[in-house]
Symmetry: C2
Subunit: 347 residues, 2 copies
């Protein structure tokens, strides 16, 4: 099965991004609750002066998934996406791929689903207002996921680029959000129940200062996701309850790279399966220090595979050589040589 960009965009368009994110969130939550069943590996990164290319594999007893993803902060200035991704899902028992998919759009959905899942577990009940700092590619998906999970319907948006604020307003206004253009990051945080940071600079930035955040706030920090890239004032982290996906990876890539290596953190799956408490007090500040983990891609690919199987959104791709006799790979070439035109078999 192939879900390329046109098919993915069409599928999301048909079911609606809110339903797609909610569906992935349900699958993701079920998978997070059985976390110990997964064969987990920190992602494998290849760094270059302009960015990074990573492979993120994960498997359970039945399915194997991996994602190819790049991160190049200077890409938008050159007309490219900062992050693009594609990946595959395979059957463990014979090792054949069953789905190849674009994952730039799918990653935006699964990241929103993950943020929404964490916020549903950690934010104060009744949260309605979200500061959305960084109005780039991920921002609309974040807003849509949070509305479905929490009931967020008021957005206080901020970006250093006014054009990005224009863009998110244009995209989200038709969906019925109340959108307030803030005058600064601090202004955006004022009175927010949830603060989402999704900025793209590869820097030890301090997008959110300690003094701006009141008691009871939930921080959804998704932009600090590689070594040397952070968004949150360490003083704010020090007085917060911190939740992570996969501790070994987050120590290297997350906001907590600013803290000591033994600073206490809680893995989110232990909150979801009930073995750890989540928010301990209405006035506590909770931080979901999200860097993105392979399990989220696994859940999203599995949800997608089930959702599109047998529909017009599942294309075909022939990546597995299948000679009649499995030991006679050479016959595929001999057969081609014997034909007048290879096109006869390419249909």
């Amino acid at each position: 099965m192939l879900v390329d960009v046109p098919r993915m965009a069409a599928w999301i368009g048909q079911v609606g991004p809110e339903a797609a994110i909610a569906g992935i969130r349900a699958r993701l939550e079920a998978d997070y609750r059985r976390w110990p069943q997964f064969d987990k590996t920190p992602r494998v990164a290849s760094h270059s002066p302009l960015g990074v290319i990573e492979l993120m594999p994960i498997a359970d007893a039945d399915r194997y998934a991996f994602k190819y993803v790049n991160g190049h902060p200077s890409n938008p200035m050159r007309g490219y996406q900062t992050v693009t991704a594609f990946g595959a899902l395979a059957e463990v028992h014979h090792g054949y791929p069953l789905l190849v998919a674009e994952m730039t759009l799918l990653t935006a959905l699964r990241t929103a689903a993950t943020s929404a899942m964490a916020a549903a577990a950690l934010a104060r009940p009744g949260s309605r207002t979200m500061a959305l700092i960084g109005n780039g590619s991920q921002s609309e998906f974040q807003a849509i996921g949070m509305r479905d999970a929490l009931g967020i319907d008021r957005l206080q948006i901020w970006d250093t680029d006014p054009a990005a604020m224009d863009k998110i307003s244009r995209n989200l206004s038709p969906l019925g959000f109340e959108i307030v253009r803030a005058t600064s990051a601090q202004d955006a945080c004022a009175g927010a129940d949830v603060v989402t940071t999704c900025t793209a600079d590869k820097a030890l930035a301090r997008i959110v200062e300690d003094a701006w955040i009141g008691p009871g706030t939930h921080l959804n920090a998704i932009g600090g996701d590689c070594p040397g890239k952070t968004e949150i004032d360490p003083a704010l982290l020090e007085r917060s309850q911190i939740f992570v996906e996969y501790t070994p990876q987050t120590r290297i890539e997350g906001e907590i790279q600013q803290l000591s290596a033994d600073h206490p953190v809680t893995e989110l799956w232990t909150v979801l399966d009930g073995s750890s408490p989540g928010r301990t007090d209405p006035s506590a500040i909770t931080v979901f220090d999200s860097v993105g983990f392979a399990l989220e891609d696994f859940s999203a690919l599995n949800y997608l595979a089930d959702a599109v199987a047998g529909t017009e959104f599942a294309g075909s791709i022939d990546l597995v050589a299948a000679p009649d006799d499995p030991r006679d790979l050479y016959s595929l070439i001999a057969a081609t040589e014997a034909r007048d035109s290879w096109g006869a078999s390419a249909a």
Copy 2:
């Protein structure tokens, strides 16, 4: 660019497997000579009761490649290939993939090219006769590569399954090889200048015994390629000069897993760039303990990309979301929702 199975088979059929292997070998040799320029990582394996799924990434300053490959020894009994593979090539500067390709056929070509490259450097000049033990999917490609590199034109074939010997005879006889059906592995080795082992059993097997191998033989051992899978009598290894691809990986996966962890081995690239001697004596036994390394896939993918660019063999695949404004990923969905039929953009 997409080179799926029909296109790959057609491309090999058109240029001919001998020319394709020779072309990959030339590219591979050039890449092996600049070995230190590559960012190398041992492959990332996910093991299950029935097999393994691996990712093999590698990069230089300009290009990044990875291969997805499975190895399931019981697959042929169930009607599947033991090994299938696909992969991608990407530009390092922006991280976008430029080629997605089937790699089951391509791996057979690159493995033959690698074996041929090693044999050209290590076998005795004038080698004409090759024992070919294990007549499965890789065997025809091995024979074709060795003929081009060394002038091998006499094959002494052996497989425990007579049907496999029938198959290789049927495939290679039309190409002008002199083919001798041996009565045992020992019989196949008698008088052979080169001995190639490419059997598939996942076991600490002893396909070739020490006593069978005369002075001056070159062994091309390609079937021992994962932990617990070997083919060569350790006593034979002890009296041979051993050459490997990437030592850290071969210690774990190769024939030398049977030897002490500090047994001397020579990396093949140092022979090719002239910094190590190869064969030191006409009567020496040389062993290429090949397990397959990501650089070989890198070379093959790059050769393929150049060879098929602009031809009928390069299909298209749309895996990279490319909104007009790179920060407006959401616009891809909004555009879809606004259309009557998504099919209008899928062409």
